[in-house]
Subunit: 129 residues, 2 copies
Amino acid sequence: MNIGAAADASGISAKMIRYYEEIKLIQPASRTSSGYRQYSEADIHTLRFIRRARDMGFAVEQIGELLALWQDESRHSEDVKQLAQQHISTLNQKIAELQSMVNTLQSLVSCCAGDERPDCPILQEFAAQ
Amino acid sequence: MNIGAAADASGISAKMIRYYEEIKLIQPASRTSSGYRQYSEADIHTLRFIRRARDMGFAVEQIGELLALWQDESRHSEDVKQLAQQHISTLNQKIAELQSMVNTLQSLVSCCAGDERPDCPILQEFAAQ
DNA sequence: ATTGACCTTGCCATAATGGCAACCTTTAGA
DNA sequence: TCTAAAGGTTGCCATTATGGCAAGGTCAAT
């Protein structure tokens, strides 16, 4: 399978597949005599794994750890669980930051007339001494 | 005031102040004869405005628009309000994405024994055909 | 005069992704 | 069989906002 077909089959762009190879997240693909990368079903399976992990917001570094655990028959599920829980914590922290921004902005917005006059509590807040 | 003092006073690093000048978010600072940037109280006020907007998660481009509105005496508060509401929408969308990741991961994590055995629903889900 | 703190510019790096360009390979149709 | 189109290769640039480092100039205090 060429890289374009692998991209279609995995949901990861050809560009990103090359990138993942370059940064050694995945093994270098085998090549045809003319240099085209070739992908097996097992390769596609790995790429799909990566896409699902990426869709869950894992960074490439963590995805590497997940891949290693996946391929380690003698892994301990506690290690996987810990990785996932750490990631959940990170996500929850980001959510809390964003939510706090929304809360502040929402309260300012609800105080803003939103008409043709220049007075605006949002700008006032940002400009506060 | 030199850039270091301006950084301390505004909460924006000297590096970022130079960067904001370079991308024209702020006017080039005046210079001493030896080339040191000089900042007035008004400059600090602007930098603080930027920091507050940044703390609310606005991107530099939007901060530029906010600055323009702030400095426009004949602005309409509806324009400010609209900018803020758009940003709230963007933030809420990101929150929803992250929350959906958390929900999925949390349900997988709660199904994972988290012990020394290799079986793990998290990896199973990522590896699903 | 020296020293240390601070300033200048310029370059590199980050994370993950897209775009473009120049060039080569493969495949299908005329 | 020749040609054109589609798709592959590498390499370089750009993004966003931020930090770090290095080489060299400036300023202030001792």
